[in-house]
Assembly symmetry: D2
Homo-oligomer: 174 residues x 4
């Protein structure tokens, strides 16, 4: 079971729509997955699931337990302030170190409203996941100007469709 | 007035102690500062101060207003999972873009329990602050094995003392 | 006297043309500069100017002596393999550490044939220059799809013109 | 056949000694490898093997042909100026893009005289190798204060020995 992590807690995010698109793409090639939307994290997550409070949030424990069983993850990462959203790092900080991520495998995909596409966001995230002992697939699509290239749940840019297909084809046997 | 940002919301953090030490060091050379401890952020910060809710948290607005008046900032950054704490990026995501940080100046200092010292944390943070238009002082002390080198509010490692002095000497005219 | 470093040794490079454009832009606001084209480095540079051979290449010593007198530098950086050209780092490795760069100031500009614009190249270069004690201006224009946006020595993209003007306006008083 | 790349062209390098140590460690677990020392690159490499001259250096073509047949690589990376040596990036710039590296796998190891261990060097190199389509093993030992911890071809620090063993154990089935 592949975990697809929607890397923001913003409501109505494009990231969530792309997470659902990705889930469907995986289904088409026979791979099961579920979407973990960071929007669903407990509201007081920042104060009840970290440091001395680690393990004390029942709601977060359920999220974590499901993730811990998963050996492959896909991170859908919007660019915020030249990197990934703070909530995504906070989420990683609240996981079990190192068991939640170590010796597991992941694929990263970024998106941005602007022209950069999120290259720095994925570079930072790769550093962190490597630190946690998780292998990161080399192919990391960076989808710039996402509003112009993704509408009503579908990509209008063929290049982006093929980048995702390539990534999935490389990820399944990774 | 220099803002010293304690980059974690962990209780009883060494970062907070170093923030206070830094404040005292600034005072000794005649510079005024205050400490903004991320532990003091509103508990529901992650859900009431970002995206569509930007500006809606009165408690956070007060924090932000004070910061916005400051033209120089010091970030005290503990290493969490090979980078800086998620709460610090969340805090940056909740600031006013670009007014809170643009054309301002900062100094960065990292600490770690382990031997790495936080080099990657400060690299990631520099990328983000540059993206926001904030100039970052080149001198960035990275204080490894902090528990062995900082006790009862004082450094026991002379090298660390001199690194901080050098940074402050370069930061004031920056 | 500002040093403008053309960050590749490729012949007929677009980077060189942009270096000349930049020199002219500086001239228009009354700032003197010269272009240091890495193409002009001695052919055996990699073997005669580094490590035990440091200082032994007369040709490189002349280049270095001129650079050492300069307190402000502009780096024009093409994206090669997701970062900056190896020859640029080799050049930095051959400078005097720390005197060539420490406590000086620089502005970075990147260009790419592809859509990324060189964000990672400038992130890596910033890490290195900060390590060497050089302050880096926050504004770092990243010029993607350069062949379509720069022709016959002029930008055809107004956004790029304004990004350079903004950078220069911030760099002169930096 | 695993390629072990000694990432500097400095003579008498510790990196070369560690490359030989690594080769022996691989042999002990039944894996064949050879050491590619960047010191052996043709002296005029920077001017005869890149850009318009790609493919024109017979000496470099031989090096490249051997590397191209290898599907697993180990990079031994000394820290120079807060990153990896310029000659290593120049070497990568001279390879066949993307065939030399794409869809291959590598393990990275860094060393430094100072206390940082090369974390930024490996972060930068990971970005580049991912750009080239090469998968990078998450485990990346960073060996600080190498002169104090490696003598006469052997590690005097047991932690470093175990980090290498762990890396090799993870790399063989990667």
């Amino acid at each position: 079971m592949i975990s697809i992590i929607c890397g923001t807690n913003r409501g109505q995010s494009v990231s969530k729509q792309i997470a659902l698109y990705y889930q469907n793409s995986l289904k088409e090639v026979g791979a099961n997955s579920y979407v973990l939307d960071l929007k669903e994290l407990p509201k007081d997550f920042l104060n009840v699931a970290l440091y001395d409070n680690a393990g004390k949030s029942e709601a977060f424990n359920i999220v974590k337990k499901k993730l811990n069983k998963s050996h492959k993850m896909v991170f859908i990462v919007p660019e915020y302030n030249g990197s990934f959203p703070g909530v995504l790092k906070t989420f990683i900080d609240a996981l079990d170190y190192p068991d939640s991520l170590k010796n597991k495998k992941c694929a990263l995909l970024s998106l941005s409203s602007g022209t950069q596409g999120g290259a720095l966001a994925l570079s930072h995230l790769t550093d962190i996941l490597h630190y946690c002992g998780m292998n990161v697939l080399a192919q990391k699509p960076k989808l710039a100007k996402i509003e112009a290239n993704f509408k009503n749940g579908q990509f209008t840019n063929e290049l982006y469709v093929s980048l995702l297909k390539e990534q999935i084809a490389a990820f399944l046997p990774f």
